[in-house]
């Protein structure tokens, strides 16, 4: 039985090679890419015969921008954040995707109404998940139980190294929230020079204790190795380390910063047809729900919610681990994509100068 299975796989493998249809998808690596491979890539290949090449990057928005500007495009589909999608679309680096051609919900609701409206602001991108940046800690190494963002910046009460993403997004917001700025005023404050100075001044207080990470797979590793006691992280990575590796990690949901990840097609992608096929396949109601069985990110379609159930271990209920769970949303902040689409380049430059000082 197994032999026949392998044989058919091998034969279909040959068939693919003959038809040579393929699509290259760039994503964020680690547990997140794995969830996409299981929920999207494998079923897509099984159904259409199109081979999916999976490529990883720290943040796919950067390499695809470089590729399009250098005129040397190898990626067909990229998974990027909302602000980046808006920014790259504004800069003409992405193909326009017709939202009305996406598959409707099982009950017939058209796609344009089924996706969460906040994720549908760019006509170059199709949202797939809602995720968040949170602070996580290792219960074995941290003294006491940190509960707020202010605790992340308090190295007296919670001594030890901190991990943070080498990027101003989310981090500047967290610094302001920890400094006492109410959530609804964070972006107004960051829009002023004084507000930016205030955020950097707050970061200055822990600068010498920070270990910087770039790839999403790094923070759980830094926590597990004891290199840091607390770190900013993508919530799904921490969940996977908790559940599949039994790591003693805790999550501070206070001040979590919600964002979308979206599929885009770089302008001039070599396999645009296949890329479109892939995106409509991956963002249908069932696939988005399937992905939630592999990582704790919420589907970007309303109709997917009823299909979200257990983690693939067959016992962990996904609901409470989602960033969108009511319990976790109390003090959450939604990433202001307009702010970051406009200001990301400037603030990143300031951030890097600050890093080197």
């Amino acid at each position: 039985m197994k032999k026949t299975l392998i044989l058919t796989t091998a034969l279909t493998g040959l068939a693919f090679a003959a038809s040579a249809q393929e699509v290259t998808v760039m994503s964020w690596g680690g547990a997140y890419t794995k969830s996409q491979v299981e929920a999207y890539h494998k079923p897509f290949t099984a159904e259409t015969g199109i081979k999916v090449n999976s490529v990883d990057a720290d943040n796919p928005a950067t390499p695809i921008k470089a590729q399009v500007e250098a005129g040397n495009i190898t990626v067909d589909v990229a998974d990027i954040e909302l602000a980046d999608a808006v920014r790259l679309c504004d800069e003409g680096l992405l193909e326009v995707i017709d939202h009305s051609a996406l598959p409707p919900a099982p009950d017939g609701t058209p796609a344009t109404e089924d996706f969460l409206p906040a994720g549908m602001v760019s006509d170059c991108a199709v949202p797939s998940i809602v995720w968040s940046t949170i602070v996580a800690y290792n219960t074995n190494n941290v003294q006491g139980t940190p509960t707020t963002l202010a605790d992340f910046f308090d190295t007296t009460a919670f001594p030890g190294k901190r991990g943070a993403r080498k990027d101003p997004t989310a981090l500047l917001e967290m610094a302001l929230v920890a400094d006492g700025v109410p959530a609804d005023q964070v972006y107004d404050t960051l829009g002023t020079d004084a507000g930016v100075d205030r955020a950097f001044a707050k970061l200055d207080t822990i600068k010498s204790d920070i270990v910087w990470w770039e790839a999403g797979a790094q923070p759980p590793q830094l926590l597990a190795d004891g290199e840091v006691v607390m770190t900013t992280a993508y919530n799904g990575r921490i969940f996977n380390a908790q559940v599949t590796e039994n790591q003693p990690f805790g999550i501070i949901w206070d001040g979590q910063i919600l964002d979308f990840d979206l599929f885009v097609i770089p302008k001039g992608a070599p396999n645009k047809e296949e890329a479109l096929k892939f995106i409509s396949f991956a963002t249908d109601t069932q696939r988005l729900a399937d992905q939630a069985a592999w990582i704790s990110y919420g589907p970007a379609r309303k109709s997917s919610a009823p299909f979200v159930g257990l983690f693939n271990d067959g016992k962990t209920e996904m609901g409470p681990h989602m960033p969108t769970a009511p319990e976790n949303l109390k003090t959450a902040l939604a990433n202001d994509f307009e702010f970051w689409a406009d200001r990301k380049v400037e603030l990143t430059e300031r951030f890097n100068a600050w890093l080197l000082q």
Partner: protein
Amino acid sequence: MALPIYASPLERLWHYVYLVLCGLIFFFLIAPILVIIPLSFNAEPYFTFTQKMLTFDPEGYSTRWYENLLTFGMLEPGAARDGNWWSDVWQNAAWVKAAKNSVIIGFFSTILATSLGTLAALGLSRPEMPYQKAIMAILISPMIVPIIITATGLFFFYSATGLANSYLGVVLAHATLGIPFVIITVTATLSGFDRSLLRASANLGAGPVRTFFKVQLPLITPGVVSGALFAFVTSFDEVVVVLFIGSHEQQTIPRQMWNGIREQISPSILAVATLLVIISIALLTTVELLRRRSERLRGMSPT
């Protein structure tokens, strides 16, 4: 190094201190390379010597990380280990793919660098070569120019010419990086070459081609082979250029390692590192033997 008999007690003391210091420096040189070998057999996913390892308990050791090298990326890692399993390894395992790419790219760039480099070294070592110093400086420069500058230049050039993301592009780039090593080793061998042998050969009626193959080449072969090995190692170890100009198709061992190290140094990386150290030892031994053979052939120091 014997102490002279007239050495004062202070000098004697210093002599031993000096030997200890040298020992420590040798330790500094070699220990970091050797320390990863036992750690790659650690049964636990840590980078330290566990209690069981220190007491040489066999349970503390395992080859699981080496097995991981084979299974990572496979379609059916859990299947029975028959012919199909191995063909799955051969076709899909990420590290096996990377190794294949490294060998293919290394092989062709070595051939290119060695043939062009040897030819040029023959010209460069002729006394009548014009602008010898300036040309030598240009040909050695790929070794001196910071790799990031080379990679950046190639990125734009290859993107514009369509060579980016192709095996050919990576091969050409690695050949360029390997050329200085071929030039240096082959010209060094040629500098000890007795040119009167060429005249003797011509005197005996051999044409230049025959002289080259029958007289010159056998004598410089050791130098050419060490140059080729240097070129191969340069390609086999190169990561920055591949990162800039290669696509996922051209995933090589160093690039796979680079990804692995940046995300997490799993003990699998140590297993790869151990294998690479063994390869380096083999290559070093080969080069040393060749060097001695070359010195013997040329009748130099009898070591």
